[in-house]
Subunit: 289 residues, 4 copies
C-alpha cells in the first residue's frame, strides 16, 4: 500500500471500506442536506493507523452550490451547533489561526481569525451600552509560521495560554486531503487538537489538551494535496512507480483565492455564532465588518 | 498517445525525442549559464502538430537559485536582449497583461503590466526636464478576462490598437505546462502572438499579426498544469486510465504567490530594459517603484 | 472667497445657504430614513458656478450605522431605484470603474467593477439552463489611469464604446469632497457623466453623452479631501493664510481600506440590482462571489 | 498653546526654536547627505514636556529622491549603523511589528516584520551548509492590535519575551507626526522603547526596558497626522477655533500604499543588515524574497 497523505480522518477510513479495523469507529448521518461523517479514534491501535490523536473527528460536506457563495444560514447554524458541542459551556476562548497569511493556500487560519469577533478586552459597561450583553470573552491570534517567526507556533500559543488562561482553544488550519474535489468543500472538526505529523508541509508541534492544558478544538478545510496522493486519486490503479518529486510537491487548485475567501467567511461566521449564540448572524456580520 | 496539454513549444518537441517531425525545427544553446531552446514552427504540418501559430518559440530556463530572488542582472540583460530581437527597432509599443488579477496563478499578466513604465503620455519637454531623453512611447493595459468584462479580450485589444496605432504589441500571459518543475522557472517568448487553443482554461481569441495587423510578441511563464498532464508527468507509464475530473482540473504549486511576484518582477524589468535600453536597471527600478 | 474643491454638487450649493443663485435648483427629501438631496445644473450660469456639466446630481447620505456594515436591504433597494431611474429601460450597459486599483483611496471604481455581474458574453441558452432568464447584457471594465496605461481613460472608453455599442455607460469613481465626515458616507449619482475638472488629482477627460454618444450615468463616493479644503472645513473662519502645500496635498481617513471595501460592496450590489431587477439580492450576492 | 500631537521628538523640540528648555538636549549633523537630529530626554522635566521616556531619539530625514524608490545603499548602511549602535553586540533579538496589517497606514510594523530574516530556528549545521555562518539568532512577530486580538500587545510580547529570553527587542511602529511633508520621509530610532501616550490612536501599553526587562529599541516612520495638528501645520496662525471632530480624526496621504511599501522595504533592509552585518545587501535581499 502506497502512503496516502491526508489530514481528513474520513479519508483515512475510506481506505478500509467495509472492514474498519479495531481502534476506529465510524458513523454517518444527514442533516439540513449536509452529509456528516463521524470518525472516532478510540485506542492506541487507532492512533497508530491514523497518526492522529485519540478523539472525535467530524467531517461536514458542503454541497457545491453552498460552497460557492455566501453560506446558507442553515449550514452556518449546523456548523455552529457542532462546534458548540465540542466547546465548554462557558469561559474565555482563545481562537488561533495557524498558517502564513502571505501564502494563499496556507492563509485559511489567519484570514478566518481576521473575522473573529475579539471581545476579551471590551469592558462589560461598554458592551452593555452598545446593546451587547453577555458577550463571551474571546481572544484571537494569528502568530504566523516557524519560517516567519523563528519561534515554534506551539511555543507562542503555550506562552499566551499560560498568560491569559483561556478555558479552551480553537485552532484553525488549512489541511491536506486526498481528493482535489474536497478542496474547500469539506470541514473537519476535532475535539483533540492537532497532531504533530499532520498538515501542509509545516513542521508542527502538537497542539492538544496534553500540551496546552485546556481543551483544544481544531477546525480545518482541505486546501492542498501532495503530488503522489493526487496521482493515486486520479488514477484507478495502485503501486504506480512515481518520480521522487511527487512525494514532496504540494499543489492546490487554480481558484484557491476564492476557496480561501469563502472558507474563511464560512468558518468565522460559524465560530462567532458558536461563541456568541445570543447574537444573530446579521449582528455578527455587522460587528466584524 | 494521451494528450499532454502544454503551452510550451519546448515541451511539445520533447515528446519526439530525437525524431523531430517535419514542420518543426529545434536548437539549443547556453548563454550566461542559462539554457535557451529555440523551436520554430515552420509549416502547416508544424501548426497541426503543435496547435501553435507558425513562428519562433524561445524558451529560457532560469536556474533555481536565480528563480528564487531578485533577478541577476545578467539574466535580465539576456532576457531583454532576446525580447529586443523580436521587437521592431522603433515606434510605440502596447504592452498587454492577460489574465485575472484576482486569481493568483492567472495574475502574472496584470502584475507584470503594473510594473511596466508607461511613457506614451509623457510630453518630450517633461521627459527632458526629468533627465529622461529619447523615451520610447509605451502604453500598457490589463483588460481582464471575458468572465470579468463580458467582452472578448481580443475585442478590447483590437479596439485599442485601432485607436492608438502601436508599432507592435507585447502580450504577457500565464501558461500551462507539462512539468510542475517548470512552474515559474521557464520563460517562453514568441514572435507570433497567442493562438486560440492555448492557455489557462480561459477561452482565448487569437492575438497575432493576422488579427491585430502589427507584430505581436508573446511572453509567458508556466503557472498551472492540468490534472491529467500532471499524472503523466509524475508517473513513468503511459495510457493510464484516469478519472474524468483529471482532464478538467487545473492545479498550481502551493507557493504560487511567490512564483507570481518574482515572475512579474523579472519579466517587467526585462521588458522595460528592452523598450528603454538607454536606462540602467537602477533607473528602471527607481521609475516604476 | 477661498476655493473649496469638491466633486459633490450638494457641497457646492451649501455655500450659498438660502440664496441659491440662478442656474442651480435644489430639493431635499427623506426616504427609508435616508436624506436625498437633488441639485440640478440648469443653465450655463450653473455650469460656470459649479464647473459641472448641466444635469441632475443626486446625493444620498448613508447613516453611520448603515455605512458601517453590510448594506441594509432597503438602502440597496432605494439606491438601485435611483440608479434605475437614470438608466434607459433596456439595451446593453457598459460599467466602467475609474481609478488605480493599487492606490487605496482611488480603488473604488476598480473594486466596484470587480463585483459587477458581467453578462454580455453569456449565451441565452446557457443563461436559461442556469435558471437566469432575461439577463440584461452588461459589460464591465476597469481600464486604469493615465499614469499606468499611457492612454487617456476617455480614449480607452471611447474605443470600446465605438466597438461594442452599449445603450448607456455607468462610470464609477472616487470623489473629492469638502467634509471628512462625508468620506464613505455619501453617494452621488448624476445623469451627465464626469466633467474634466473634477476628481482625485487625476487629469480626466470629460466622459459624457457629448463625448461618448450615449447616456453616461456617474456614481461616486467621496474618499479624499485636499489640505486647503480640509482646513476650511475644520476651522470656523475664512480667508486663512495657508502654506502652498495645502493646495496640492490630498488626504484620506486612516480607515480608508474599510471605506473602500464597504463602498464597493454597496455600490456594486445596487448597480447589479438596477441592471438585473428580476434577481433577488441573495441571487446577486451568490452570482458575483 | 494648542496641543500638537506628534510621536517625533524632533518635532516637539522645534516648537521651542532656540530656547530649548531644561531636560532636553539637541544636536544635528549631516552624513551621506542625510540630516540627522539627535534629541535626548535627560530628566523628569523632559519626560513631562514630551510625554516620552528618558532616552535618545534619533531622527533621519530621507531626501525625496531617495524616499521615492529602492533605498540607496549608503542610506541603508547609515541607518543600519545607527540601529546597530543602539543594539547589544550579541545575543538573540526579537523584532516586533506593531499595528494592524489590514489598515494601510497602520501596516508598517507587520509589513516590515514580513521582510525580517528570522533565524532563531535554523540549526547551525543547516546554516553552515547553506554558506550562512555566524547568523545572529533573530525571532520576528507581528501580533496585531488589541481590537483584533482582545489581548494587550504588551501582554503578548511580555509572554513571548519571558518564554524565549531575547537579549533585546526591536519594536517597529507607524507614527503620528505634525507635518504631512514628513510622512514616509523621516525615520525615528529610540533606545527606550515606546511610551504609553503615543501613536496612531491605538491605546498602547509601554514597551520598554522597565516593562520587558531587556533593552527595547524602537523604529518608526510617520504615516498619519490628526486633523487639529494638520490645521496648525498648514495655517500660519495659532489659537484657531476648530470643530471638535478635528481632534479625533486621523488622516493620511492619498498615496499611503506606496509610503508603506517603501518604508517597510527600507526599514527591513537596514534592520537585517544591523543584525547580520556579515551578509551583503544582495544576500539579504535574496534571503528574504
Amino acid at each position: 500500500m502506497q502512503a496516502v497523505r491526508t489530514d481528513l480522518a474520513m479519508e483515512q477510513t475510506e481506505f478500509y471500506k467495509n472492514n474498519l479495523p479495531e481502534g476506529l469507529s465510524l458513523s454517518q448521518e444527514e442533516k439540513a442536506g449536509l452529509k456528516i461523517t463521524r470518525v472516532e479514534v478510540v485506542s492506541e491501535e487507532g492512533v497508530k493507523l491514523t497518526g492522529k490523536n485519540k478523539g472525535k473527528y467530524i467531517t461536514i460536506d458542503i454541497p457545491l452550490a453552498t460552497a460557492g457563495a455566501e453560506p446558507a444560514d442553515d449550514v452556518t447554524h449546523l456548523l455552529a451547533q457542532e462546534i458548540s458541542a465540542l466547546l465548554p459551556k462557558e469561559g474565555m476562548v482563545l481562537v488561533v489561526g495557524l498558517g502564513n497569511i502571505h501564502i494563499t493556500p496556507d492563509a485559511l487560519g489567519p484570514q478566518t481569525v481576521h473575522q473573529i469577533l475579539a471581545t476579551r478586552h471590551i469592558p462589560d459597561q461598554v458592551a452593555k451600552e452598545s446593546g451587547l450583553e453577555n458577550l463571551r470573552p474571546v481572544a484571537a491570534l494569528a502568530p504566523g509560521v516557524l519560517g516567519q517567526t523563528g519561534i515554534e507556533t506551539g511555543e507562542i500559543i503555550h506562552s499566551i495560554v499560560t498568560d491569559i488562561h483561556p478555558g479552551a482553544v480553537v485552532v484553525i488550519d488549512a489541511l491536506a486531503a486526498r481528493s482535489l474535489e474536497r478542496m474547500g468543500r469539506t470541514i473537519q472538526l476535532s475535539d483533540n487538537g492537532i497532531s504533530p505529523g499532520s498538515g501542509v508541509l509545516n513542521s508542527r508541534k502538537e497542539l492538544s489538551r496534553e500540551t496546552l492544558g485546556v481543551p483544544v478544538i481544531s477546525v480545518g478545510i482541505p486546501t492542498v494535496v501532495d503530488g503522489a496522493t493526487l496521482v493515486q486519486d486520479l488514477v484507478e490503479k495502485e503501486n504506480l512507480p512515481m518520480k521522487k518529486q511527487a512525494q514532496t510537491v504540494m499543489v492546490t487548485p487554480r481558484d484557491i483565492d476564492v476557496i480561501i475567501e469563502r472558507g474563511a467567511k464560512n468558518l468565522s461566521l460559524a465560530i462567532n455564532k458558536a461563541l456568541q449564540p445570543q447574537l444573530s448572524l446579521e449582528d455578527i456580520t455587522y460587528l466584524v465588518s
